[in-house]
């Protein structure tokens, strides 16, 4: 039975990772088989590889309005976040020891900030309100002369809400008229390629992106670092990436990231069509299934994410039950070794424990079709009903209503 489903699997977990675009894999292949030189080598094998890396750098820079030399290639979004935070904190430590971030960040930012707390930094975690957005007044009220870094993600990976980065960027610029050493980083791993991004108009100094979220290969990403900002390298060794990040260039993956950036740019408008698909999906769910809650601001939200809490049932059970029907989604609930680690993002948004446990993220891509959504809508109500029927909480709730 599982086999049958596997043939027509519906992948709605594109915020976790995406399928590589065929055009991307195609341009990568020659760099595995023929042009396998080390991009630091002087001979023609090396120079061909270097040329390809340069071209990819242009493609990535162009997607986000950066200059060629402002792009640092590295192993992914996690490393980009780490280099941004560690690199600035270590480099500007003598200018101040305060970092502002939100309660809402990806672990790559959150856990890195936590690590710096142990090193004598003070970190402020801005609250997130029910809509999943930070407030600019909160930033104003906590910023001090010791603040050297603000790191606020662009779009959230669990609910898709889009933060007011442009406003924060403007505030940072204003403050910087008086004190120089304040930098603004945004984790744009989820937003790059999904909404138009121009680093200059956003007013960010550093921006993280990751290839496998935009139909590129895994294990490659980039950090945008505005010209003139020094950063302490976190990987030392050869003189790669203008001495900001050592390690033999991952040429095929870099080429793939470049191509996926170019495709994402071409598809930016088309990507917004996903919104109507998502809205169609949400309308269907709202009609077919009672006692649910849509999480995250309706307006300021990526087109491709729908995060829904299903009362009375547990996310992992729903996830696996859907998986058995060939549908791949993710949950904000992870129960392991007898204790549940509820998504800090949803908790920060003020959801009850139970609603966090019952949350499921459906994330779409430009490859998602209406047929697939219809299939999900045909399966989801029955699966939810079955699990609720088993749930002792549901019975209680029913009883109370009566």
């Amino acid at each position: 039975m599982i086999e049958t489903h596997l043939q027509s699997r519906v992948y709605l977990d594109n915020s976790a990772s995406t399928k590589i675009a065929p055009e991307v894999l195609e341009v990568m292949l020659p760099y595995f088989t023929e042009q396998f030189g080390n991009a630091s080598s002087i001979h023609s094998f090396g120079q061909q590889a270097k040329g390809a890396v340069d071209e990819a750098r242009r493609q990535v820079a162009s997607l986000i309005g950066a200059d060629f030399n402002e792009i640092i290639f590295l192993s992914g979004g996690t490393e980009a976040d780490n280099l941004a935070i560690r690199g600035i904190a270590e480099s500007y430590r003598s200018k101040g020891n305060h970092i502002i971030t939100s309660e809402f960040e990806h672990p790559a930012v959150r856990n890195t900030c936590l690590a710096f707390e142990k090193q004598g930094f003070r970190v402020t975690y801005l609250p997130i309100y029910e809509n999943g957005l930070v407030r600019i007044e909160d930033i104003k009220s906590v910023i001090t002369n010791d603040t050297i870094l603000i790191s606020i993600m662009h779009a959230n990976n669990e609910v898709g809400t889009i933060q007011p980065i442009e406003e924060i960027g403007a505030l940072v610029k204003e403050i910087r008229l008086e004190r120089k050493n304040l930098f603004f980083h945004t984790d744009a791993v989820q937003s790059v390629g999904k909404i138009p991004i121009d680093v200059k108009s956003l007013g960010v100094d550093l921006l993280s992106l990751s290839s496998h979220k935009i139909h590129g290969p895994k294990g490659i990403g980039a950090l945008y670092l505005r010209k003139g900002i020094r950063i302490t390298s976190q990987l030392t060794g050869g003189r790669h990436e203008r001495e900001r990040r050592a390690g033999t260039e991952n040429v095929p993956a870099i080429v793939g990231l470049g191509q996926s950036a170019e495709l994402a740019k071409e598809n930016l408008e088309k990507f917004q069509e996903i919104k109507s698909l998502r809205d169609y999906f949400e309308a269907g769910v709202a009609k077919l299934i009672p006692e649910i809650k849509f999480n995250g601001d309706k307006e300021h939200r990526l087109a491709n994410i729908s995060n829904i809490s299903f009362s009375y049932i547990e996310g992992e059970a729903l996830l696996i039950a859907l998986d058995l029907k060939g549908i791949a989604v993710s949950t904000g609930s992870a129960c392991s070794s007898g204790s549940t680690q509820p998504s800090p993002v949803l908790v920060a948004m003020g959801l009850s424990k139970e609603m966090v446990r019952g949350s499921i993220r459906f994330s779409f891509s430009r490859y998602t079709t209406k047929q697939e959504i219809d299939y999900v809508l045909s399966v989801l109500p029955e699966v939810v009903a079955r699990l609720r029927n088993v749930s002792p909480l549901y019975k209680q709730a029913m009883a109370k209503e009566k």
Binding site: I320, L324, S336, G338, S339, V390, S391, P392
Partner: protein, 126 residues
């Protein structure tokens, strides 16, 4: 999580769902750390279990463990039931992924508490 076929089958087709009004052994247990909850209802007749039902909230193995249990209990004596241990249950389920053993713990806890609640003297033979 790589779940066994048995566990997935119980998730897709949970057995004996419901609250039994005339049960003579009942338990309601909660894992306070993770919030998983199990209700177990057992009916003995002539010292043998003739039916068992359940309700469960929580992750997959919690649901499946107790669903499995309601079937396994059928025809068992009090002693046989009370001798079931966590490791055996896990074996019968085809194994559990790392970090999920607590699900079987909770199911066994429900069983033990239900058996404790069983009072042979008040046994209803109808």
């Amino acid at each position: 999580m790589q779940y066994s076929k048995a566990i997935l089958d119980h998730l897709e087709n949970p057995r004996n769902v419901g609250e039994m009004i005339d049960a003579n052994a009942i338990a309601e247990v909660v894992n306070s750390a993770c919030g998983d909850k199990i209700k177990l209802f057992i009916k003995f007749r002539d010292k043998k279990i003739i039916s068992a039902t359940m309700k469960a909230y929580g992750c997959v193995p919690t649901l499946s463990s107790v669903s499995f249990l309601t079937e396994w209990l059928m025809g068992k004596s009090f002693e046989e039931a009370s001798n079931l241990e966590v490791d055996e249950l896990i074996n019968l389920l085809g194994g559990l992924p790392r970090g999920k053993k607590h699900a079987a713990d909770l199911a066994i806890e429900a069983l033990q508490i239900a058996l404790l609640s069983y009072k042979p003297d008040t046994q209803n033979n109808s």
